[in-house]
């Protein structure tokens, strides 16, 4: 029971990370892909939108990791051994993305310098979420075997499969879509910029459909347990709702109902991750490591839940404060 609570907190943090941190990566992608006469303006609005909040958003991933190694230390150790390579690459991306963004802000305003940092920032914003998707995908493939707490399948199992790679692409497109939707909401006073991001949101939203289908089809061979999970009684309900959200988000964009499109996109991303976790339950690393057999002793879990409660009391008002300061008036 306790481990389930901690597990739910992990999923929750993951969802929040995708919604906030993921969108910041998407912002980086659109920064790199900025083109046309308004490219400079696009970059500026992206920088303004993520500047005050990206560090706070980034902490969600640290929270996921800390919860994982406190609540499920065995699972954490096994993941870090078997997925050492994609995780290390992802870390390089995290380092480069964050530092390039800050360096760009404080470095010379000279065009060449700025463009160089932009490139680093943008490229890192692409490959970091890709490897995050690959890592999450690899956990569900069933190719990583852990017997008696020892990883038996080496360092290349799972994450090089078509399914895991498809998950990487899916994460990439998803974050790009999410960021574009947010940015349409951040460009209220500037109709031409708004149109730019509206176009980008619609295009990436349309690409998302086929990519999702590929992931689903690849899961049949690539992640049989996941496929089984996704075809249980409850999953049509979840899938239908996810699709409804996706369609509503796109329709809203088409009709320029931006606030509605944001709500729908947020719901869509949350449902995808919740559905993924539900299909994965109770496995952490399919099929050997579950939330039961990898859980820390009850006393740790209990303290952890207490710490989470305490943290929430401090953090939630602070976060709301942060977002109300920066998302009101100028942008809305």
């Amino acid at each position: 029971m306790l481990e389930l609570v901690v597990g739910i907190f992990i999923v929750l943090s993951l969802v929040l990370y995708a919604l906030m941190g993921g969108a910041d990566f998407g912002g980086g992608m659109w920064d790199l892909l900025a083109y046309g006469q308004r490219a400079g303006k696009q970059r500026k609005i992206i920088a303004d939108a993520i500047g005050p909040i990206w560090e706070a958003n980034h902490v969600w991933v640290i929270l996921v990791i800390v919860l994982l190694f406190t609540g499920f230390p065995r699972a954490f150790a096994a993941m870090m051994i078997s997925l050492h390579i994609p995780i290390a690459i992802m870390l390089v991306g995290i380092v480069l993305r964050g530092s390039a963004f800050v360096f760009r802000k404080y470095d010379s305003k000279d065009d060449a310098v700025q463009r160089r940092w932009s490139t680093v920032f943008g490229v890192a914003s692409f490959f970091t979420p890709f490897f995050q998707g690959v890592t999450l995908g690899a956990l569900t493939t069933g190719r990583i075997r852990v017997i008696d707490g020892v990883v038996k399948t080496g360092f290349f199992a799972g994450w090089l499969t078509p399914f895991a790679l498809a998950c990487g692409v899916f994460a990439l497109v998803l974050f790009a879509f999410l960021a574009a939707v947010y940015l349409t909401n951040d460009t209220k006073g500037e109709p031409s910029l708004r149109e730019d991001f509206r176009k980008r949101a619609i295009v990436s939203g349309l690409i998302l459909g086929p990519v999702a289908l590929v992931v689903f089809l690849a899961s049949k061979d690539g992640a049989p347990e996941m496929y089984r999970g996704l075809t249980q009684w409850w999953s049509p309900v979840l899938l239908v709702w996810t699709s409804v959200c996706a369609v509503v988000a796109l329709m809203a964009l088409y009709l320029r109902r931006y606030a509605l499109s944001r709500i729908a996109a947020v719901a869509q991303v949350s449902l995808i991750l919740i559905g993924w976790s539900a299909a994965q339950y109770p496995n952490l690393i399919t099929p050997d490591v579950t939330i039961t057999n990898a859980a820390a002793p009850a006393i740790t879990l209990r303290l952890l839940i207490m710490a989470l409660g305490l943290g929430a009391i401090v953090l939630l008002p602070s976060l709301i404060y942060l977002f109300t300061i920066f998302k009101r008036d100028k942008r809305g």
Binding site: G51, P52, I53, E55, A56, H58, V59, V61, I62, L63, I65, V66, L67, F69, T70, G71, P73, R74, F76, A77, A78, M79, M80, I81, H84, I87, A88, L91, V92, I94, V95, L96, G98, S99, V102, F103, K105, Y106, D107, S108, G149, F155, A296, P297, I299, T300, L303, L304, A307, L308, L310, G311, V314, L315, S318, L319, Y321, L322, I325, F326
Partner: protein, 433 residues
């Protein structure tokens, strides 16, 4: 891992010290209304922003690396030390949120609310440092569990957090962060004052930084003494290695410098102060101090490195203390910002010493604990990842960190060169400076 830590510890220390300076400067502005303090707070905030971002990403790398490099350690100890890490996560989260508010909120919230958010950044910075050091202290003085057949059982994470090494390690590291930041910032501004003595901006900056440095360094000496005594109680092998002390003896001499020779079990060419070590470890010139010979040979840390690092750390601390006393005397005599040419030069030289002391002190505590990763419980070799070819990620991260360090120094320099505001003092400010 060691490299990531060595890199991260600098940013972590500045991440504790800089927000404090920034909040102090803004507090001075709110009290006095002098624009120079506001300019100072803004400038220091820029520095904080750069350092915090790099500290945040290097800290992320660390949280993963714990598992990437020491999976077995985390598998066993995660349930025990995860709690302080979780608390640290929340403290860090708070810091990130309010730093966002602080950096981007200058004209969006009231001056008082803005200052309060700066204070929250400073406080949560200190808090996250405390939680992390508690974890390290646990590795030195593991408590809060029973060891049954090589597995932890009956764990008690709260007892683990409040292990006997926590208090002195936390105190020592927090003060170290303040000392190092204070001296580093003082050095930067002293450097610019050498060529532009009347620059109001740098004068005010030096005043605040110097005050922080001069108050924290004497306290640090006291906390160092506490640490030495605690170490002699908790980890006598580490203390013996720090002091290159091989044979158990009463009235043990304090050895400074010299070449420790493991085979001969003695330290050659060292400066020896009779009874000094007994006094330091037990506050009694005649007390008996345990030597390395009491421990099996395979449980000795690398005596040469530990002893040399320890001497460098103490030397750096003493040098900073001397400079602080000098500055304090000048201030006492003249009741104004000490700006004697030679003092400024000494301050510039002393700038990096705080970080030298942090790095060497950290080597003392880490290498001094070897061969253990958890003192007396788990050996480092048993904790390391089975991953082969570790040299590849190691080199990648080394190159990455060196690159980051260069950029950070370059950018920080830019922030200071861009000093735009009042170059000259106006007359009334000369009077009260």
């Amino acid at each position: 891992m060691a490299m990531s830590l060595a890199f991260h510890i600098v940013f972590a220390a500045l991440g504790i010290g800089m927000p404090l300076l920034m909040a102090l400067a803004e507090g001075m502005y709110l009290r006095t209304g002098r624009p120079v303090y506001l300019e100072l707070a803004k400038r220091w905030a820029k520095g904080t922003a750069i350092l915090f971002a790099v500290g945040a990403v290097s800290g992320t790398v660390l949280s993963f690396e714990l598992g990437l490099l020491w999976p077995e350690f985390m598998a066993q100890a995660g349930a025990i030390i995860g709690i302080p890490f979780s608390l640290e996560g929340f403290a860090f989260f708070t810091e990130a949120i309010f730093l966002g508010v602080y950096l981007y909120g200058w004209d969006r919230i009231s001056p008082r609310a803005h200052w309060v958010s700066g204070v929250v950044v400073a406080v949560s910075g200190v808090a996250s440092g405390i939680f992390v050091v508690m974890t390290n202290a646990w590795m030195n003085a593991p408590t809060g569990f029973k060891l049954v057949a090589g597995k932890f059982s009956d764990i008690d994470p709260v007892a683990a957090m409040l292990n006997p090494a926590s208090f002195h390690e936390v105190l020592h590291m927090t003060l170290a962060a303040l000392v190092a930041t204070g001296f580093m910032v003082a050095a930067v501004h002293a450097f610019y004052l050498l060529s532009d003595r009347d620059n109001v901006f740098h004068r005010s900056a030096l005043g605040i930084a110097l005050a922080l440095a001069c108050i924290s360094i004497p306290l640090q000496l006291i906390s160092g003494d506490l640490s030495a005594q605690a170490t002699s109680r908790l980890q006598p092998a580490k203390l013996a290695a720090m002091e290159a002390h091989y044979r158990t003896e009463t009235e043990a001499p304090l050895l400074i410098g010299g070449l420790p020779n493991d085979a001969a079990k003695k330290t050659e060419y060292a400066l020896s102060i009779p009874g000094g070590l007994s006094f330091l470890a037990h506050h009694d010139f005649d007390a008996k101090v345990t030597g390395l010979e009491e421990f099996p040979r395979d449980q000795w840390p690398d005596v040469r490195i530990v002893h040399a690092s320890f001497d460098i750390m103490v030397g750096a601390g003493m040098a900073m203390f001397a400079v602080a006393v000098w500055a304090g005397c000048l201030w006492w005599r003249h009741r104004r910002l000490p700006d004697h040419k030679w003092l400024l030069r000494a301050l510039v030289t002393a700038g990096p010493l705080g970080f030298v002391a942090i790095e060497t002190g950290w080597m003392v505590t880490e290498i001094g604990r070897q061969p253990w990763i958890i003192y007396g419980v788990m050996r480092t070799v048993d904790a390391v990842t089975p991953m082969r070819g570790l040299i590849v990620p190691f080199s990648v991260f080394t190159v990455l960190y060196i690159f980051l360090a260069i950029i950070v120094v370059f950018l920080l320099r830019r922030q200071f060169i861009e000093t735009t505001l009042p170059k000259r003092k106006n007359p009334e400010e000369v009077a009260d400076a």
